[in-house]
Amino acid sequence: MRHQRLEIFLYVLAALIALVGLADAIYLTVQHLTGETVSCIASSGCETVLGSSYAVIGKVPVAAFGAAAYFTVFSLATLAAFDWTRVRPLFLCLVGMMLATTCWFLYLQAFVIHAFCDFCLLSAALTGLLSAIGIAIFFLVKKDAAATS
């Protein structure tokens, strides 16, 4: 219980990061659905990455799954911040899954497609931050449990 305020702060931070990720994913989904070219800002591989076969699952753009994931993370983090303790393991599980997916997409960009997309790298960075928050929360909870027992 000693770290409750810090924990709430971390969940709020996670919710805000998830919002940025949601905006990024919505933008990429819309660009895909409208057939617009996505221009990179820092790199030049957006067209290559987002035009590759790895950018879609069936007919659904991967970015749409990303938007759903970020929205779910936002919802779980918001509920957790408001003391809905039962959703906390779900939050950690989802962030873990997102981290694994992000690692896979980074591997594809680096070694298969040989191009990087700014928007995908932004999403990877956000997922990295969410993972760091998840790990911090995990250890805080563990520490509190040890202190109370």
Binding site: Q31, T34, E36, V49, F74, F82
Partner: protein, 219 residues
């Protein structure tokens, strides 16, 4: 009240995200121009090297040769038009290395090899920018590799791709398109399916053609 607050926040974010997504979609998804643009002839290499939006109201398709002088003169004109018209203009480049040009095929292969790494347009610009350097070099292949080194590219992969089957197939597909359109010179430029027959194509001529396609009255 506090118990329901997170659900209110989640619902509000859901509504805002949905409205933003739909709004963005509607603003981008304009009806495509029905001018029958570039639907004739063989399709050419797929995916084509396209710069700009597929939904752009004006689609320009150039059949070019990196060795040809008029093509190199058309390059800055095209850049100027892209700058002026922004997302209203999309540009597609097709390989048409003329057989009378001894180094044109090597240059086309270099551009396509760079394209396999997603660097076609950078290589396209480098080839026209350094045209005299690689044309005047004794060893064209080495000069083209040097040219590619100015582009952010995996040079080892580029060297392998220069002789690859995939590059050959892309050039062959573009040549089939050239043959189906009965083209005989470069640059051959089409704006929304209409060929610009004047030569050289100056920025004024290109502007007039694009404005015409956009339905803008000449100034």
């Amino acid at each position: 009240m506090r118990r329901y607050l997170p659900f209110a926040i989640i619902a509000a974010v859901f509504c805002i995200a949905t409205i933003a997504g739909v709004g963005l979609y509607q603003s981008r998804a304009q009806a495509p121009v029905k001018t029958g643009k570039l639907v004739f002839g063989q399709p050419g290499a797929n995916p084509p090297h396209m710069h700009g939006s597929r939904k752009a109201p004006v689609a320009l398709e150039e059949f070019g040769d990196f060795e040809c002088m008029p093509c190199s003169l058309f390059w800055p004109v095209l850049k100027q038009a892209q700058k002026e018209y922004g997302d209203r203009l999309s540009v597609t480049f097709r390989e048409y290395p003329l057989t009378k040009h001894t180094h044109a095929l090597d240059a086309a292969r270099a551009a396509e090899a760079a394209g396999l790494q997603g660097r076609f347009w950078e290589m396209h610009d480098a080839l026209y920018g350094d045209r005299l350097l690689w044309l005047g070099a004794g060893d064209t292949r080495a000069a083209l590799i040097l040219c590619a080194s100015h582009v952010e590219i995996d040079l080892e992969r580029f060297k392998k791709d220069l002789d690859s089957e995939e590059v050959s197939k892309r050039i062959a597909a573009d040549r089939e398109r050239v043959a189906s359109l009965e083209l005989d010179r470069t640059p051959a430029v089409f704006v929304n399916g209409d060929r610009l027959t004047t030569a050289p194509i100056t920025i004024e001529i290109l502007r007039a053609a694009i404005d015409d396609a956009l339905g803008v009255k000449p100034k």
